[in-house]
Amino acid sequence: MTAAPLRAADRIAIAVVALLLGVFVLLPLISVAVEALRAGAPAALATFADPYAQSAIVLTIVVTLITIAANTAFGVLAAWTLTKYAFPGKALLLAIIDLPLTVSPVVAGLAVLLCFGTNSPVGQWFLAHDWKIAFAPPGIVLATIFVTFPYVARETMALMNETGRELEEAALGLGANLWQVVTRVTFPRARWAILNGLLLTNARALGEFGAVSVISGKIRGLTDTVPLHIEILYNDDNMVGAFTLAGTLAVVAIALTLIRSAIDAWRRAE
């Protein structure tokens, strides 16, 4: 076999893949920027002066922060439970934690709506205590927690499975209590995996659309998140506004992904 024709074949293969990713993935990204800046930068920036857009941004940030806190706490607990102890039904528990990954976001939103809506006993109980959940921010939080539920748990579990439980058992044997073991042995080794899952949760929570759109009621200024506001602006034919918010969300989500792969590469190099 001679080298020259192979090199030509290599070049063709690279060119085909570059063209594929360029047209299929890069071009849509470029078009977001072009649509947002179609009427100039001042028109794009005016999007952020709108009080409805501002309240959507605030709501999205609040919902995302609560979701991260809740799912990080749960994820670490679940990973610890599933990797450090033996108990019957472990595979089933694991499968249920993974379930939100394959459930349609609309079905997730519907589940929260039917569970906490005004027609259900649970929802009526909360309503009697002056807590509105469906068509209000608490419902948005619950739906977002549902769709991002497995991320921290999965990432942390994968790492804890690799590291095993010998160090914990050794520390216990040397007289450490459970709290010392968790904070000084388990957590320091798991922190990058936890951070990885946290970033994934962050990116997904910021952009959640289907589940939130079912439960939110889409009341401008009250239950309108950034992804829902993008839909409202798009349907109002306000392309500059829709693509400015879309571009902002895209930049944040892609930045979170890049940080994640940078951490991955850095940890592998260590």
Partner: protein, 269 residues
């Protein structure tokens, strides 16, 4: 023995029940409002049946496209590592990172009748947006990273000696690919296919803007549920959602089985 099993297990099971199981169970409980015959009428109405066919068919078509495109992308990324390749590698994660509503309005505009790509196709009598082709395209976009990221590490660990041995025994390059390389990669491709399918089968945000949403023609399953909800037909929405949940359970089972097999195959390589 590490202490604390009772508390840790109790807390985990309680939280999982409250966050996942109770809400999903309330979908099933809502079916109390209708008779079994009523359930069948709604869950398998012509409109719902057309939506199942479209959602499942489009997701299968998209995952098949992703296997071909994603396989080629993964192979090139592994075989020619260089600085420039890192940009292509980062591009693969973009569909995964992008919020679905962003993907939705962007693809609908780009492939729409006035878009950069869509206008050319529409001019040649092949409209993409508001047709099933648009739905497949959006789903292929969303599913692509799942195939690439599943196949890529397996290609990287593929022992080159197998191919070299076959070639030295006189096998032509295509025969090596068909008889040695692809069979070794089959479990990875199958897993990537299933992951893409699981992600796209219930997809909503990236599809509804480009789909057209015409009942019986371009209406996906999640949209049928949303339409029922907008008519305050909670039992009807729940009926269609239960069928969708069955798909989710099957996908989850399939993926768990495939991933177990894949890690076993990886252990062999």
């Amino acid at each position: 023995m590490i202490p604390g099993r009772g508390i840790a297990l109790g807390l985990t099971v309680t939280i999982v029940s409250l966050v996942v199981l109770v809400p999903l169970a309330s979908i099933v409980l809502t079916l109390n409002g209708i008779t079994p015959a009523g359930f069948l009428d709604v869950a398998f109405s012509p409109r719902a049946l057309a939506a199942y066919r479209l959602s499942v068919g489009a997701a299968f078509a998209a995952a098949a496209i992703d296997v071909v495109a994603g396989g080629a992308i993964a192979a090139v990324l592994v075989r020619y590592p260089s600085r420039g390749m890192r940009i292509l590698d980062a591009l693969v994660d973009v569909p995964f990172a992008l919020p679905t509503a962003v993907t939705g309005i962007t693809l609908a505009t780009l492939y729409g009748p006035n878009g950069w790509i869509g206008s050319w196709f529409a001019h040649h009598g092949l409209p993409i947006a508001y047709t099933p082709a648009g739905i497949v395209l959006a789903l292929a976009f969303v599913g692509l990273p799942f195939v690439v990221r599943t196949v890529q590490p397996i290609i990287a660990t593929l022992p080159a000696e197998f191919g070299e041995a076959a070639a030295s025994l006189g096998a032509a390059p295509l025969a090596v690919l068909a008889r040695v390389t692809l069979p070794l990669l089959a479990p990875a491709f199958l897993t990537g296919f299933a992951l893409a399918l699981a992600r796209t089968i219930g997809e909503y945000g990236s599809v509804i803007f480009i789909a057209g949403n015409m009942p019986l023609r371009t209406e996906i399953v999640p949209l049928v549920i949303v339409t029922r909800l907008e008519e305050y037909d909670y039992a009807g929405a729940a009926a269609v959602a239960v069928v969708s949940l069955v798909f989710s359970f099957v996908m989850l089972l399939a993926i768990n089985t495939l991933q177990r097999r894949l890690s076993a195959a990886r252990g062999l390589a």
